[in-house]
């Protein structure tokens, strides 16, 4: 499969379970080395580059299953990302200031001294986003940041996504919540069995017969997953 992600847009990636969405993210962020193919970021070949270096180039991600540093405080979690992210801030005081900005953006600034372990799932999801944002990415890959959230939490997350876009950050977004993804995305790419099935605006995707078939199945009558 091959695709481009235009700058400063929200590009959605959807597909049935096991289509390869998370694998795609892992390939782009360097968690997995591709066995073939090329990945370019801002005109540079970044194929096979490790995660830590990609972060310094401006590519950050969140995980579908949250991975906060449980025994660090909320502030420490985000502060670390400022220190080691693209900005590579050296001084602790300056790093904490930047960290507070990210935490304010996701609405966690009142819980900075809590251990990440004691946050609720919704809060941990927001911490995950704040930590990725604190690396000052040019491209951020968000993997199901609304999974397991309530309707109101999801709405808040959509507002957050808009604010991230307004800061000029490009977003690649995987979500199973169709309503969320159809309303927020500029473009959508549909994956199925590791292949690109379709690509286009939300309206085009909704009316694409191949997509409908992948989701609802044909003769075998597979279970729709979203």
């Amino acid at each position: 499969m091959s695709f481009d992600v235009p700058e400063k847009q929200i590009c959605g990636f959807i597909g049935p379970n096991g289509a390869g969405k998370t694998t795609l993210f892992s390939l782009i962020t360097g968690a997995i080395r591709p066995s073939s193919g090329k990945i370019h970021f801002r005109g540079n070949d970044v194929t096979g580059m490790d995660s830590a270096r990609l972060v310094k180039k401006g590519v950050a991600r969140t995980h579908q299953i949250v991975r906060p540093f449980r025994q660090l405080t909320v502030l420490e979690n985000v502060q670390l990302a400022v220190h080691y992210g693209r900005r590579a801030v050296l001084r602790a005081a300056a790093a904490r200031e930047h960290a507070m900005e990210s935490l304010k953006l996701v609405g966690l600034d009142h819980k900075v001294n809590r251990l990440a372990a004691v946050l609720s799932l919704g809060e941990q999801k927001r911490l995950e986003v704040a930590r990725a944002l604190a690396t000052a990415p040019e491209l951020i890959l968000l993997d199901e940041i609304c999974g397991g959230l309530t309707a109101s939490e999801t709405r808040a997350m959509m507002g957050l996504l808009q604010r991230i876009r307004e800061t000029g950050t490009t977003i690649m977004y995987v979500e199973h919540d169709m309503k969320a993804i159809m309303t927020i995305c500029d473009r959508i790419t549909v994956l199925n069995f590791g292949q690109k099935l379709a690509e286009g605006t939300p309206a085009e995707i909704q009316n694409n017969p191949a997509v409908v078939e992948a989701y609802l199945g044909t003769s075998e009558g597979s279970v729709p997953s979203a």
Binding site: T29, G30, A31, D50, S51, A52, R53, V55, K56, A60, R61, H63, R67, P68, F69, R70, Q71, L72, T73, E76, Q79, L80, A81, H83, Y84, G85, R86, A88, L90, A92, A95, N113, R114, L115, A117, V118, R131, A132, A134, T135
Partner: protein
């Protein structure tokens, strides 16, 4: 109420800053107050062990990389110091050489072994350590298994050894504190908890582990150097032994893994137990360590320092800014399996 709490926590913070320096001062003037030769020797060896404990704790406690191979650094430190002094260099040059060689060795050990994680890393370090011991047993220029003798000019001055060890252990405490409170220390704590998540925010787990391994190795190397200079004679079956690696690992675990003062406490307890009990019950001390280790892992994963903190639990919650989080953490740490 709030004012009082603020005052008391400020006071405690001041005490925490003053107390270590007070302790150092006492240790420095103690010999002048007429300390028995045996006591000087005991404090010397305790300081040597504590330095190793502090070193290991940076890698094992802070970064969560459990190594069974620190005898390599201890032994290399001993031999480097011996060889350099034999070549006519000053002991201090010898110690710096010991640190450099140990750090260099840590790099070569770390390059392949830090590709492994958790128990696989731990097992690999055993292999490296044993391999080094076998090589040293058969190396001609150091006398092989029959050992190495340092011949120092001038009279034997026990206090010089003592002061060297005290200065080195104080330096180790300072280095350890600086590392723990730096962004590097924060990165190591993150690596301990989740290497991949650390990489996702730009922390390179591999290079950071290499760095902390080098610092830990250098500290242990210096400790090996000052030990060797005072002992005058040592052999691979002693300084490179698996027992040495185990001892170095035991200290921070006993004292309280992951904190400077836990490592210090463990070193002091170990030093005293090793010197006093071994003399009286030479066959029993291993049993004692084994028993102590089982008790600590079962009952108090945070070591003796953790036990002390738990005894003064209410005060600790007042100390930390995180309201209520500690309760849950303490509750959690009992349920969550620790690395050791």
């Amino acid at each position: 109420m709030a004012g009082r709490m603020k005052f008391s926590s400020l006071w405690k913070r001041r005490m925490a800053l003053i107390l270590p320096w007070l302790l150092l001062l006492v240790l420095l003037v103690l010999p002048a107050a007429g300390l028995s030769a045996n006591m000087v020797r005991l404090l010397f060896i305790t300081a040597v062990w504590t330095t190793c404990s502090i070193g290991w704790n940076l890698l094992g406690g802070l970064a969560g990389q459990i190594s069974f191979g620190f005898a390599v650094f201890f032994g290399l430190g001993a031999y480097t110091t011996g060889l350099l002094m034999h070549a006519g260099r000053s002991p201090w040059f010898g110690f710096i050489g010991a640190a450099a060689i140990a750090a260099l060795a840590s790099f070569f050990i770390g390059l392949p072994t830090f590709r492994l994680r958790g128990p696989y890393f731990a097992i690999a370090t055993i292999g490296v350590s044993e391999a080094v011991r076998v090589v040293m047993n058969n190396l001609d220029i150091t006398g092989g298994a029959s050992g190495y003798r340092i011949i120092e000019n001038g009279p034997y001055r026990p206090l010089e050894h003592y002061y060297t060890a005290i200065v080195v252990v104080a330096g180790a405490v300072v280095i350890s504190s600086v590392v723990m409170n730096s962004k590097f220390g924060l990165a190591l704590r993150a690596i301990k908890q989740d290497e991949d998540a650390a990489a996702d925010i730009g922390v390179n787990p591999f290079t950071n582990k290499l760095w902390v391994h080098a610092i830990a190795g250098a500290l242990t190397g210096i400790a090996g150097g000052i030990y060797a200079r005072r002992a005058g004679f040592f052999y691979p079956g002693d300084v490179f032994s698996f027992q040495t690696s185990i001892s170095i690992l035991l200290m921070p675990v006993i004292g309280g893994i992951g904190t400077v003062w836990g490592a210090v406490l463990g070193g002091v307890i170990f030093g005293i137990v090793e010197e006093q009990l071994v003399a009286k019950f030479p066959d029993l001390h291993l049993l004692l360590y084994g028993g102590l280790l089982i008790l600590i892992i079962l009952l108090e994963p945070d070591g003796i320092l953790g036990l002390l903190r738990r005894l003064f639990r209410s005060k600790r919650i007042e100390d930390s800014g995180s309201t209520g989080a500690d309760e849950i953490l303490w509750g959690r740490s009992r349920l969550e399996g620790r690395e050791l």
